[in-house]
């Protein structure tokens, strides 16, 4: 079965979406990611969408759902790399992606994730 790979790096999960996803593939990613947050005891999820040429309401909702589910599972999600044309279109479509944290690129996304995890004050992510 076709799947989007999820990479584990320490306490982070990294997903790079490089294909034009049909709805079932998007749902599979959401399910896989939710399971993986638990099995990998992940504290942060970074989703790179710099290759995505379009985000419609279904895919936008998936990001919102992933962010909400990860929060319930004690992890933070950041979506990075949205193309400007995609951002303009999303807003006109009527999607604000409220509840989804975003960053310009992977580097800033990782900084944001680290900050979020450290600011929880439970010592998670401050092992170094």
């Amino acid at each position: 079965m076709e799947r989007i790979p999820i990479l584990k790096m320490g306490e982070y999960l990294l997903v790079t979406i490089q294909v034009d996803m049909h709805d079932r593939l998007a749902m599979t990613l959401q399910d896989d990611l939710t399971s993986k947050i638990v099995s990998a005891r992940a504290k942060g999820v970074l989703i790179d969408i710099s290759a995505l040429e379009m985000v419609d309401s279904f895919i936008g909702r998936m990001f919102g759902d992933i962010a909400a589910m990860s929060r319930v599972l004690d992890a933070e999600t950041v979506v990075v790399g949205m193309r400007p044309a995609v951002a303009i279109t999303l807003v006109e479509l009527g999607l604000s992606l409220s509840g989804v944290r975003t960053a310009l690129n992977i580097e800033r996304g990782m900084d944001l994730l680290r900050g979020l995890i450290e600011s929880r004050g439970d010592g998670a992510g401050s092992a170094e």
């Binding site: 034009d20 049909h22 040429e53 909702r61 044309a85 279109t89 479509l93």
Partner: protein, 134 residues
């Protein structure tokens, strides 16, 4: 109005929705649409193709290149023989859905298009036509 090029596609699986996006993108590129306009028409097409599949039980898309004076554009006609929409005014409202989506498909696609037409008869089907001018 002159119609130089036309193409028909079936929408019966989620993969067909992806194929619709790619076909519309290609047509927009061929017509010289800028990146933002390409993205808008592709996103509108994705919303409407999904509606055709989910609510119409599948259907067809016709892609036309349209000319009006010196303006060029793309016209997309989505057609299904599904249950139809009882109350179009309600269906066009942001956030209204009879499924489990966000209710942005029709209203969002309208905002992303230059022109938008919808016809529906309960028990017979739905036809949505959009045009995006370059």
């Amino acid at each position: 109005m002159l119609v130089p090029l036309s193409e028909n596609r079936a929408i019966s699986t989620p993969e067909d929705v992806v194929a619709v996006r790619q076909a519309v993108r290609q047509r927009a590129v061929d017509l010289g649409f800028n990146l933002v306009d390409q993205t808008k028409i592709v996103t509108a097409a994705s919303e409407l193709a999904r509606n055709t599949l989910q609510y119409g039980g599948g259907g067809t898309l016709r892609i036309d290149e349209v000319l009006h004076g010196s303006r060029r554009g793309i016209r997309l006609v989505f057609e299904d023989n599904g249950p139809g929409i009882a109350n179009i005014e309600l269906a066009m409202k942001d956030g209204y859905t009879t499924g489990n989506g966000l209710g942005l498909g029709l209203s969002g696609a309208k905002r992303l298009s230059s022109e938008f037409f919808i016809e529906s008869r309960p028990g017979e089907g739905t036809r949505v036509t959009i045009v995006r001018w370059r």
